[in-house]
Symmetry: C2
Subunit: 121 residues, 2 copies
């Protein structure tokens, strides 16, 4: 069960990295790595369809994964996205609360958080 959760987190992470930096890969890398992260195919299946060896697919995936992680280390887009997403969720929750309590302090907090979104970018 824990191993499965780790695996799901790993896939989610790789998918996010691909979403953010996939355009920086070559067309060939995108074709192979894109199928790896977005479709549930084995290395053997990808290899067969691409007409290259299983080892070739393995190497491309390893190289792409390292390249995407390298971009994240430099640009932190996924990290920033997660942080902004969290702030937008906070705004939603605050507005839920405001609709019940009508506490003006809540609106100030909304402003404060929306301001911090800009600092995150």
């Amino acid at each position: 069960m824990i191993a499965q959760v780790i695996r799901v987190n790993e896939i989610l992470k790789q998918t996010l990295l691909y979403d953010f930096y996939g355009e920086l890969l070559t067309e060939h890398q995108k074709e192979i790595y894109g199928r790896f992260v977005t479709e549930d195919l084995s290395l053997g299946e990808i290899a067969k369809e691409a007409g290259i060896s299983r080892q070739g697919v393995h190497d491309i995936i390893k190289r792409c994964s390292a390249a995407l992680s390298g971009y994240e280390e430099k640009l932190h887009l996924v990290e920033r996205f997660m942080s902004v997403k969290k702030k937008v969720e906070q705004i939603d929750k605050l507005l839920d609360g405001y609709e019940k309590e009508k506490d003006a302090a809540v609106l100030r907090e909304v402003r404060e958080i929306s301001g911090r979104i800009i600092d995150e970018l």
Copy 2:
């Protein structure tokens, strides 16, 4: 006057591109191009301090500028930043209006805009 405005816009654009993608340049490129966009130095002054030719500085700046624009064409970070910034400004303005009118529709609009921030990323 128009020429000056264009020049200012160009500098602003180059500075934003450097802010977002500068980390993808090499250390040497960052040193030269960083000084070009963040300090008000002539090519000759940068050349002198870096101990390379004026033509060398010119080539690095041209290459960096093309590289940064290439990243923007692929990742659109500056475009997305401008769009999110605009939405946060809209939220602020809506909350200003709400404080006067207390119109619940305004809060729904705030939610709607904050939701769209996520779509932008």
